[in-house]
């Protein structure tokens, strides 16, 4: 969902963006990607932005819906808080914050 937060992307664009934002840690493959996109679409969190035909092949762009953006904001806020708590405790315990 984070890959679609700033702009609509097509499938390969999502794979590349996920690789970039995870510093190459996460490599999505087509099977997993389209299972997730299908689930997000059915849950109303993403929708089709537009379709293009490139080199005789379908390229479909997806974007976040209003509900999807709200859900992503809520999740990222929760993760930010949890990360803050973890960093704070590490600092109290003498670890590196």
């Amino acid at each position: 969902m984070a890959a679609l937060a700033d702009q609509p992307r097509h499938g390969y664009g999502v794979i590349e963006d996920v690789k970039d934002i995870s510093d190459g840690q996460v490599r999505l493959y087509a099977g997993t990607l389209y299972a997730v996109l299908d689930r997000l679409k059915k849950d109303g969190l993403i929708e089709v932005d537009r379709e293009e035909i490139v080199h005789s092949r379908l390229r479909r762009y997806y974007r976040l819906t209003g509900i999807g953006a709200a859900r992503l904001a809520e999740r990222s806020e929760r993760m930010r808080k949890q990360a803050g708590v973890a960093a704070h405790r590490l600092a109290l315990g003498g670890g590196v914050a």
């Binding site: 097509h10 390969y12 087509a30 099977g31 996109l37 299908d38 092949r57 390229r59």
Partner: protein
């Protein structure tokens, strides 16, 4: 074969709906991510796609099983089968009581039979009242008791186990359907309260009619049963069983087709086992009261084969019906346009 053709072939593992919706896009993504000179899908790509396909197909089966229609089927089947099982397991006790034979508690055969009869009687009562959890517990306890009985009898009387296998299949199916969460009284509403009352009454009479069978068996012993023979006893017993079967058929004929077909799918394995090996006389799985080498495999595989075949038949029939309906609608729409 080109890389594109190999990707297309790999995509065939996906469920049709998903492939139709996303196949072209997935192909574009896979080709865009391919290394220069790559001729085959990579092992990771293949594993990812196969794992996704398996997961989706399992999910599809699970959602079909747990959809609203199967819940209705489970509710109806639970009503019918608990009454059948209660009647079937009560019959021996009625027979014993009618000739004054005491109930034996002190061996596996005795207590497991008592547990089965009381378990199914309790389950049938709870289903009628709407106490689902109690019905589930009673049903599974009866199944466990029957498992103990089958295990204890196999080394001694293999013919008894083979002839009773249809009851075991029915019992397990019944316990599974009892475990499906449904709205209280759903099965009775779908079948109709009057039909359920008739089925209940006839189940009771079928169970009680066993006392007549006992008298039939003993009518050759004048000091126990008085003057005989009594040919009307056989006629009444057969009429009760026939009446029960007819009421069941009429009840199923009155419900919606999708419900009737699925209930029959669940009834098919125990009925197939009853028809094939429900009697010790002329049983193709027995020779001289002993199991044949192929008996165990048949007992395990045949019920599964029957239910899978029945499910495939129902699926094909319903698919054909949908296509026919769509065809008729298209013809009507064309006629309206003309």
């Amino acid at each position: 074969m080109s890389l594109e053709a190999r990707y297309r072939r790999l995509l065939l593992v996906l469920p049709t709906e998903h492939r139709v919706a996303y196949g072209d896009e997935m192909l574009e993504v896979m080709l865009a991510g391919a290394e220069p000179g790559q001729r085959r899908p990579s092992p990771r790509e293949t594993a990812d796609l196969v794992r996704t396909a398996v997961w989706m197909r399992v999910g599809q089966v699970f959602s079909r099983v747990t959809d609203g229609r199967w819940r209705g089927v489970a509710a109806v089947f639970a009503v019918i089968s608990t009454m059948m099982l209660a009647a079937e397991h009560l019959r021996p006790f009625v027979g014993d009581a009618s000739i004054g034979r005491a109930i034996v508690w002190d061996d596996v055969d005795g207590w497991s039979r008592i547990a089965q009869a009381s378990g199914w009687l309790l389950a049938a009562g709870c289903v009628l009242i709407g106490w689902r959890v109690a019905a589930v517990v009673a049903g599974w306890l009866a199944v466990a008791a029957e498992a103990a009985w089958l295990a204890s009898q196999w080394p001694l009387w293999q013919a008894d186990v083979v002839a009773a296998w249809w009851q075991w299949i029915l019992a397990v199916t019944c316990a599974i359907t009892l475990s499906v969460r449904t709205v209280r009284g759903h099965g009775i509403r779908l079948l109709g309260a009057k039909r359920v009352a008739w089925l209940g009454a006839l189940s009771g009479l079928v169970a009680v009619s066993m006392f007549m069978d006992s008298l039939v068996h003993l009518r050759g012993i004048p000091e126990r049963v008085g003057p005989g023979p009594w040919p009307w006893i056989d006629v009444v017993g057969a009429a009760l069983l026939g009446g029960y079967g007819l009421t069941l058929l009429v009840s199923l004929a009155a419900v919606d087709g999708w419900l009737r077909r699925r209930v029959l799918v669940l009834l098919a394995p125990p009925l197939a086992m009853l028809a094939l090996a429900g009697s010790q006389v002329g049983n193709p799985l027995l020779a001289g009261g002993e199991a044949l080498p192929q008996t165990v495999a048949t007992l395990l595989i045949l019920p599964l084969a029957v239910i899978v075949s029945a499910l495939v038949m129902v699926h094909r029939r319903e698919r054909r019906m949908v296509l026919l309906r769509l065809g008729r609608q298209a013809e009507l729409a064309k006629a309206a346009q003309d």
